[in-house]
Symmetry: C2
Subunit: 145 residues, 2 copies
């Protein structure tokens, strides 16, 4: 295995869209990243479908195509609350921008991975194929993808 | 706490440089990201100081300023091997590009966080101030930081 990518990939990932941490209280968690690291909060939203609150942070002057930082706070029982109970606060998932999440799932034979409306109102899915211990999300179409 | 960044921040983070997973075998772990996600391997190196192997992956055509994906494989006992024994394979740390890692540590009163030579031969440090459960690294100066 030399790791060469497929030469004609119909649905590649384009960039890392964001990396997310899970936290019991997004405001408390954000203090470190806003205060010590000097990032700014660019969005604070509730995603009804997943029952979570998302706080989005960016480095000031982040380049176009840069990855955002997300804090996920569960608002009800579900996978994120279970993650927190099992592992505590910390890194939760990485999300890759793709041209079209539905087309990506079809091209990869991942129709079993459910599409949902995530942060910024964009189509997302967590990949059922992800290795054990990893949560891998895709998002798209997204601005700048 | 409204989350406003300091207006005059002498040493802000500039962008997310990379997100890293820890794995027992970087080649085995890379198969998913190269194969299913279509990323390409751009570097495979041993970092003597930390006793680890780093495999770096990028989305094909990643934008300038985009975040890379890193797989850390421990080559000897140490923090990464301990992480794997305790938590298993999965997300390990997030790294932010800064203008100058040493200056960042001084500006934040983090002189206790040890500078070391990391991937790409660049100056890095893990922040001792990071919240419990989080590993936060800085790197810089770095190309494109």
């Amino acid at each position: 295995m030399t790791g060469n990518p497929r030469t004609e990939d119909a649905a590649p990932v384009r960039r890392i869209d964001h990396v997310a941490i899970a936290a019991h209280d997004a405001d408390a968690a954000a203090q470190y990243y806003e205060g010590t690291l000097g990032m700014r909060r660019v969005r604070d939203e509730e995603v009804a479908g997943t029952g979570s609150r998302l706080v989005w942070l960016e480095p000031v002057g982040m380049p176009v195509g840069g990855a955002r930082f997300q804090i996920v706070q569960p608002l009800r029982d579900g996978p994120v609350a279970e993650f927190l109970a099992r592992r505590g606060e910390g890194l939760h998932h990485v999300c890759f921008a793709v041209d079209d999440a539905a087309a990506f799932l079809a091209a990869r034979g991942e129709e079993g991975s459910a599409l949902f409306t995530g942060g910024f109102g964009l189509p997302c899915a967590f990949l059922g194929s992800a290795p054990e211990g990893m949560a891998v999300e895709i998002v798209g179409p997204a601005p700048g993808a």
